[in-house]
Symmetry: C2
Subunit: 220 residues, 2 copies
């Protein structure tokens, strides 16, 4: 039986959102990405587009140039250099982009209502929680309620990876046949993954812990 | 005693948000407007700028061009013509811009965190509730919680007019010395207020009920 295509997904082009897009592919009508001026936006978006095309899903990139211009974060082209180390270390906090998930979900909600879509997926996961307040269940729960109450068609927000780790996600992805060489994590946004920033370290660990041969080419 | 300038306000240039800006002027460090492609954006923004300058408050206009391009609403330049009649009539629903307040509050939250501001004001009021789901307390309450939980500095959202009418607001504004000729309501965005769209009808009624001589020039 063909599932109804009544959902959109917020997809960056990283491991988590690409995995979720394959996971929910039967119901996804629209893949939504955001160009908000991060150092790695171009690298990510190329993979978001590639997977959307492969799954035959419409892909829309929403420009949020005001974030690069007015927000303060080292993740942005306008910010300082990307710190190296583990994700949960204090110095990684400089990579927080203020309320990024809130902004992306709000825009996605408006689009979902405009398109008559009933459901939105976002792939925040447990490992994000240490430093990103807008990845936690304490944020997702009221945000989902605000979206349900604030849209005429009561749009639903689902974040199925909120309580699982990147290692769990990697296992799901491999079972779905995803080649993680075709995803982007590195915050530095260079030619290849740096291997030493917080997301690269987490990416390596997730594949190792999941028992996957890491297909990523790293500088270090 | 000088109050601390630790707040921002979302200001359109209409009666409600201009009144709130004067009401909270002692604590406002930033007035935030949005250009989202509505028919009356240019008219509104001119008054938002005028009052911010008069109060010596920084005024920032965030472009949200994607809404005009991808969202469906007759309020937008890309939509159909503005219906005439009362605000609470069925045909006015075509002027709903999907999740507009959610998007504006989310962007404002990111900016508040970036600037180290503690509080945000928005001037949604009771009369909006009939047709705009993102003006109701049932939306504002969880949205405020999502913003508090999703920002590193726990930004507060205050919507002090949620339970009062536009007539109440007009009384506050007159007491504050505001000349409502220097505000814009009309959804049609012509040279002068049309006098027959939902917001014009509400504007007229509010001034009449508040016992204020309406300084607005109307076409009809």
């Amino acid at each position: 039986m063909q599932a109804k295509k009544d959902s959109l997904i917020v997809v960056s082009g990283g491991m988590d959102s690409v995995t979720l897009m394959y996971d929910k592919r039967d119901s996804i009508a629209l893949a939504l990405s955001f160009d908000y001026g991060s150092k790695h936006n171009a690298r990510e978006l190329a993979f978001a587009r590639l997977h959307a095309e492969r799954l035959g899903v419409e892909h829309l990139v929403i420009p949020l140039g005001f974030m690069g211009e007015h927000f303060h974060s080292d993740l942005l082209l306008s910010g300082g250099s990307i710190p190296e180390g583990r994700y949960d270390e204090e110095n990684m906090k400089s990579t927080v982009v203020p309320f990024r998930n809130g902004i992306m979900l709000a825009v996605a909600a408006g689009l979902a209502e405009s398109r008559g879509l009933k459901r939105m997926y976002i792939a925040n996961h447990f490992g994000d929680h240490a430093i990103y307040p807008d990845c936690r269940a304490a944020f997702i729960r009221p945000m989902a309620e605000a979206i349900r109450e604030g849209t005429t068609n009561a749009v639903l927000t689902e974040a199925p990876y909120t309580s699982i780790t990147k290692t769990d996600i990697a296992r799901i992805g491999v079972a779905l046949g995803i080649d993680y060489a075709e995803t982007w994590s590195c915050y530095k946004g260079g030619e290849i993954h740096c291997g030493v920033c917080g997301t690269c370290v987490e990416r390596k660990e997730a594949m190792r812990e999941a028992g996957i041969a890491d297909p990523t080419q790293y500088e270090e």
